[in-house]
Amino acid sequence: MKASEELAKRQREWPLSRSDRGAALLAKLAPLDVPELETLRLSSSLVVGEVGRTLPNAKTFHYPDGSHAIMLFSGLIDFLDAVTKILYGATNLFGPQKLVKATSTGEDVTRELQALFERWKPGGISDVVDPALSMSPLTSPAADFADMMAQAAQLFILSHEFGHVLFYRPPGEDDDPYATPVLTRSQEFAADTTGMRNLIRMAKTPSDARMHIAGVVVSLRVLAVFASLGHTFPNDHPQPIDRLYSIARSARAFCKTERDYWSLMPIAYAYDERLEVAGLRAIHSTDPVVPDFDRVFARLSAVLEAAVHRSVPHSKVLDTMRQDFRDVPPTVLEKVAQTAARMFPQVPVETESPTQDALWVEKAKLFRSLYDQWPEVARSAFQNAFEQLSHGKG
């Protein structure tokens, strides 16, 4: 098929310095869960491969014989690898009664990300910085998690490109022959949602699912930073920030319960915030990043979980949240409090997941036990929220 020949040609033109990581990603997804795509794959009418270009991009080509080639540029794969390695440089890894301390500080990480983004110029990025050159190399398990998240980000992009194949309709003789086939906005969003769902379904454990959704969010936030740096997206293409919001909405809809959503999202929100801060610095913005409701509640939920697992002392919960509660606008705090009231009820919730039930009961207990130690403004917001919830139920 033409697609295979064209991919091979591109790989000759821009040779790879290692084995084809694009083909390896396709192998991870195979068999494809969309029958039309799987039929194309089996007949070699759909091929995926890495092309050794340094631009951080992926492209899908459609050929007159009905075949399609998805080409992932090495620059994109390397960029996402670098981003996740840097992010994990300042990530404390919490296991039951165990804490693997990060090797770098949050400030180190923000600075490295900023340097990475600053290498981007309109038209592409000349060379991806290897974080191993400027940061302490990651060791297991952080290195493994970083790889998993990078791979999730890359798989999300590949899944999105599948949407370009699935929605493609060959141009007719009366169509503008020089128009580039593009998806409609709704098809772009649908391709994102399908990619995100596939990745969550692929996760073998809840922990893997967190990594996978974090990979999705990281890939879109990277695009959003590119947009803020000056990369222009065509009008018919949704802006990355809109795609990011859309993914969060889709993830909410995909989760069976609100609790599942908050269990899924903490890493995604934490890294999203870190990338946004680095992106703002890259454009020399002095605007402070005021955490939004999602990020604040995700942080609260995550630090409570770490404390319940005894990876951190209870005082760490207070230390972590004090700044958020001081800085966020009252409306955000009110929303955080209302969510806390629903997520940390006095009467335990029973679901089909006893392990999660037990964890959230403990988190609720700890949250309530700290009540007297929250700043006054937060105490008041929580009090109101619990009363409103109780009246609502009454």
Binding site: K2, E5, K9, R12, E13, L55, P56, N57, A58, K59, T60, F61, H62, Y63, P64, D65, M71, L76, P122, G123, G124, I157, H160, E161, H164, Y168, P170, P171, G172, E173, D174, D175, P177, Y178, T180, P181, V182, L183, L223, F226, H231, T232, F233, P234, H237
Partner: protein, 263 residues
Amino acid sequence: MSITGCRNDALVKLLNGVGYQPVLLPRTGLTPPELYVYKNEKLIRRGPLLDYLPPGAAIPDLQRGRLDSIQHHQTDKKSLGVAASFLGDALKCIGITSAPKLDLSFAKGRDITFSFDDVTYEALDPAKIDHMLGDLRTGAIPPEDIKGGYLHIAYDYAFAGSLSMRAAGDSSASFDAKAIQIGTYIDLGSQGKVTATDETTISFASKDGTQAAFAYKIGRLEHRGKKWFFFPEEESGDSFLADENEKEPYLLERGVVLRVEDE
């Protein structure tokens, strides 16, 4: 099939940068527009476009001119073994299809560079090609080659009047070209003449001015419904990140010199 020793050569990259695909044509006297099939790394010449148009059809006047941006630009340095092979191929581009003797031992192991000189072009404006395709009759071209998108039209040919070979290196690098009897090492037969331009440079040219193009611009043909469309620019594909670069000229394959076979 590409010729060896030229992948990502500086001159090849320069040609690609201005939209030319370096080629080694099977014979001299060919002019655009011509049909080609490029499939499975094989580039086959199918003949003049006029042969595929109804009787009475005419090709618009070709534009002709000099290509100053290309002439005198040198290839990468080549070792003696690669240089001998390259020279044999490059001579064909200036109309010297067979050379009885090509002995480069006078170079004494020095690396060598080449350049095409007196570079000109003959071209048909690609915008005019679309209008000629309404009555295209593909004849014996296999339908699967058409459906697969393997059909192309070359519309702009670059020719060289002469070829120069230089001793590579700093200013002290020299063949002592004036001192040696160049004719005892290189015999171009009746087709060509060789002269030592200076101590470091030897120049080759055909005796009768016959030329074969050494590069051409080409676009792909696509049949949609009952209409033909010609694409002289690279397809940009559906991008994950929008492409900000301007569209690039279409190339059969970057970084290589393709050997053309006659049908």
